[in-house]
Symmetry: C2
Subunit: 591 residues, 2 copies
């Protein structure tokens, strides 16, 4: 066919809208000339175009919907849907899938039964560890799952120049990622100051994505006025950081898709819900989770849980479903998803009612994928390779000795349930010119150990807020965004035990006390993901949390808090492998 | 940048959303750090996102909008817009530009001052004459114009197997066209029976377009029920043939974009307008002209005229503008068009009010392109090559002799102002075994002469409805869709004169009488387009119409009627170079 195919997608491209060679059969099935593969009878279909709910049968051929309506169709398998409502598969338009700690297959097992059939992930956690190869690994692990995972090319790896990440994603690597079939555009452009300073590197990434004809996601908390206009003028067309109705309204007026976020660490739905109910945001909203723990998915559900709350808040069910499926599909160019209509992919959710959206059955690509909360089969999914990515230098107890010049020291002060920290001054115990733990004083040593190249870089500092009353330490290989080891503890021995255990398991969450590991959640895939089933991961997460609580730590999610203490873009103080960093002053402190 | 650029568009691709290297400047302009190129002050902006009309300045840099809002901006040129309303440039989502008879440059000169800044053309007329090369010629003639012309890859060339077209566009040629930067998808799939019969050739074209990630346009007059569902299941997502509210409602319920058509030969706006006013079609409508003569553009305007009527019919101005700009831009993937917002292309229309939409100024890509109804400059547009495409065999008066076996003959009966014809029986005059004109009897000889390859194929038949009372003939090189010569006349001599004049001018509309050309509108570009300015074309069109009327023909648009008599997909009788064709019976008649 000559040069006509230059622009064509590969036949295996997941964005291909129709299974080749099936259009003819679909037409014959729609016309009643031959049987389809699956027929849903007697249900009510939620039409995302006119937002009505109407009785209709649905016939499927080769994974795609051939017909919807009050016609006689035949199929080799019939599923009675009497009393049920048929929705398109739900789509989470912005998630960092690594925050679930699960492999794609285990994530599918957890959320497909809840009605989610596609997720768009910014996998910048694994990007920071393994670069393009990490995102390629996750993409490969999606093949054959009943959940379609798409990716956005991460725009800010590393997050700042003050961090030692495992990889750098420059404009060239972003271009490489954009050429991948599952990559839909450029991920949240978090470095707002760099955009406003018109820095060449970040704008080259934006330009690369726009020239590829793809979308660019935003991340612009509290940005207003001229600066918001300048940010939008770069071609950034979505945002998931609106925390007030006013902020959402202003961003939508510029044409940005408001991705209403409700995850484990940030919840904005209540603030934005009145705007959704009033219709003011018109077509410019959808629902996302951003960062969510598997325990919260188990407890509150996924998009089904958000639909419940949106409808309870006054949004008509047909509108709510449109925005949880069709609107994100259209925004990201997934042209055959998000509707129960002829020619659309047969990703369907059968729910009992349009108030609690509990899924009785989930159909993915025309196959029954889940029934009554259980995933039938996650298919043959290639396992994730989990070579150990934790590369440490020689460490001993001497590695965790912090000389201090005075007993009054600057410490990183945790603010419970927030990711900002404060810069505080505390009087601490000093023994032989070094910091020493004082059970009366809520101050721990905190260490960030570069773990990608065993460079020997170790940053040491002090943190308050963990309120340990017993000797021990908490360690994690999840430390945004560079994911170096981060360990907080009362003494060098337990901190060393944490480092050794993390190195042995290839990463994880660990608690040590009395020279012994008390509990561990291993995360052997890039130090970020477990290879265990979701229920095991949730149990292990409970165990490490309980072990931390046993040391006296009252924080709801000690490892969530710990993991954000390295993120050197958020005020005020952070720990990196280069030391304690003052974000406002953009410099390292000396203790 | 390695393999990352596989999917990237060429830097000159008209779909590229941002002028490279200008993002940085745009940001600085938005922040007020440096002056832009053009600043519109004191106007009211129509916001297509929230549909509000609000006072705002607009600052432009490098052809793109940098800022919109109540801020202090600077620019090297300031245009006061006090008292004016600022809209995005209007987009006609479905036009056969050849029906205007104008070159792209002359079309721009005519419609840019009316506020149209982009047109999506299915140029299947030139496709039938010159194939891919014809569409490439038109695309090349667009470069540098203040009007962006995009194309859809024609899906039905030739329209049927009963015609002798100049070219065939099979799946391979459709693939070639889809690789062109200005081609946005597959044009109206008119061969509904072929789709419903699941014919491989047409479905291969649909599949090629879908696999390229592009949209597929529909054309499905009166299709309902199961057949409409089957048609939609192929992935066809628009339609411009709805003639009733009921039809539009049914198509929109399947997610098809309803392109409300108001052209020279078909007008559907009045029928659909109540649906637009009630909001029932939601986002699924836009405005198109399909086929429009330059005289109608002069008389009634283009999209500006339709906006007047839509708003008078009860659609809020913000909604109407959204659907005349943003909705078609989004549907066809023109992601930086259709809104007056930061990061969007600076295609703007300044109108006096939101009732008559008269444009005071049109800005294209940041440059003032028209003022007070006059195009300032159509730029340096390459001329269209006009090698003569009329290739005729030797013809003489003997070529126009029609032997008839009886005095009662089947004739093609014209239905005034419609393109359907009737099969009628008429008693005619017979001299020496041949048809002869009888002034008392409204029957003319009609000839279709294959003109692409001088094959010598000439089909002869009889037509009634032209009601000539004087001896003479009308000839045209525009004869849908194959564009062979079509000539109707009372006598062989004048018909031969018509053929000779058309051959000499490379095509056109011609009237001959008494052995002399009475009037001619030359169409030397592929026998379809004039190279003259719009006002000359309109004058010449008036002259040939008057010459036809002088022979007694009462039809409003004699050449419009003549041009459709060869279209062998529309009942009942048609003339092709292979003879008189009965569309219902799918066979040729013998006289």
């Amino acid at each position: 066919m000559g040069d006509g195919y230059e622009k064509l997608l590969a036949p295996t491209d997941p964005r291909i809208k129709h299974y080749p060679r099936s259009i003819a059969r679909r037409i014959r099935v729609a016309l009643g000339q031959e049987p389809g593969d699956l027929l849903l009878t007697g249900g009510q279909v939620v039409n995302v175009f006119n937002r009505r709910v109407e009785p209709a049968d649905v016939v499927i051929a080769d994974g795609t919907i051939a017909g919807v309506g009050p016609y006689e169709w035949r199929a080799s398998q019939t599923v009675p849907a009497t009393g049920l409502f048929i929705l398109p598969g739900l789509i989470d338009a912005h998630m960092h899938l690594e925050s679930t700690l699960l492999t794609p297959a285990e994530l599918a097992r957890l959320i497909v039964p809840l009605g989610t059939t596609a997720v768009i992930s910014d996998s910048h956690e694994i990007g920071n560890v393994l670069g393009v190869r990490g995102i390629d690994m996750l993409a490969a692990a999606c093949e054959g799952l009943p959940l379609d995972l798409f990716f956005m090319a991460s725009s800010c790896v590393p997050a700042t120049r003050w961090e030692d990440a495992g990889a750098v994603l420059g404009p060239a690597e972003v271009g490489t990622l954009l050429s991948r079939p599952r990559v839909l555009g450029l991920a949240e452009v978090m470095d707002v100051p760099a955009v406003l300073a018109a820095e060449a590197d970040v704008l080259a990434k934006v330009e690369t994505a726009l020239c590829a004809g793809t979308v660019v996601d935003g991340h612009a908390p509290s940005l207003t006025g001229r600066e918001l206009i300048a940010y939008a003028s770069a071609g950034i067309r979505s945002d998931h950081e609106s925390t007030t109705a006013e902020e959402a309204r202003a961003k939508a007026a510029l044409g940005m898709l408001i991705q209403v976020r409700e995850g484990s660490s940030a919840q904005n739905l209540d603030a934005i819900l009145p705007l959704l109910a009033s219709g003011e945001l018109d077509d410019l909203w959808c629902l996302v989770t951003d960062d969510i723990f598997p325990t919260d998915l188990l407890r509150h559900g996924h998009l089904d849980g958000l639909l419940r709350r949106v409808v309870a808040g006054g949004v008509a069910p047909g509108v709510a479903v449109r925005h949880a499926a069709y609107v994100p599909a259209r925004h990201y160019g997934l042209a055959d998803r998000g509707a129960v209509a002829p020619g659309y992919r047969a990703d369907l959710v059968l729910v009992e009612n349009l108030t609690d959206f509990r899924a009785r059955m989930v159909i993915k690509g025309g196959q029954v994928a889940a029934r009554d909360g259980l995933c039938l089969d996650v298919g043959i999914s290639p396992g994730l390779p989990h070579e150990n990515t934790i590369h440490l230098p020689h460490l001993d107890e001497g590695s965790f000795q912090l000389p201090i010049s005075a007993v009054t020291c600057p410490v990183i002060e945790v603010v419970p349930d927030q990711i900002v920290t404060l810069r505080a001054l505390r009087t601490v115990r000093r023994v032989d010119g070094r910091w020493a733990f004082d059970p009366e004083c809520d101050v721990l040593m905190i260490a960030s150990i570069e773990r990608h190249r065993a460079s020997g870089r170790i940053g040491l500092g002090l943190v308050s807020g963990f309120r340990l009353t017993h000797d021990g330490a908490l360690g994690s290989s999840v430390a945004h965004d560079s994911h170096n080891l981060i360990i907080a503890g009362t003494n060098a021995r337990d901190m060393l035990i944490c480092a050794s255990a993390l190195a042995a398991h290839g990463g994880g969450f660990v608690v040590a006390a009395g020279g012994l590991v008390q509990a561990i959640l291993p995360l052997p895939v890039a130090g970020l993901l477990s290879i265990e089933p979701a229920d095991v991961v949730c149990r292990q997460l409970g165990e490490v949390d309980r072990a931390a609580h046993a040391l006296g730590c009252p924080l709801t999610a000690p490892f969530g808090t710990l993991s954000f203490l390295a993120l050197s873009v958020i005020p005020e103080l952070r720990i990196t492998a280069q030391g304690v960093f003052d974000v406002r002053e953009q410099r390292f402190l000396s203790l």
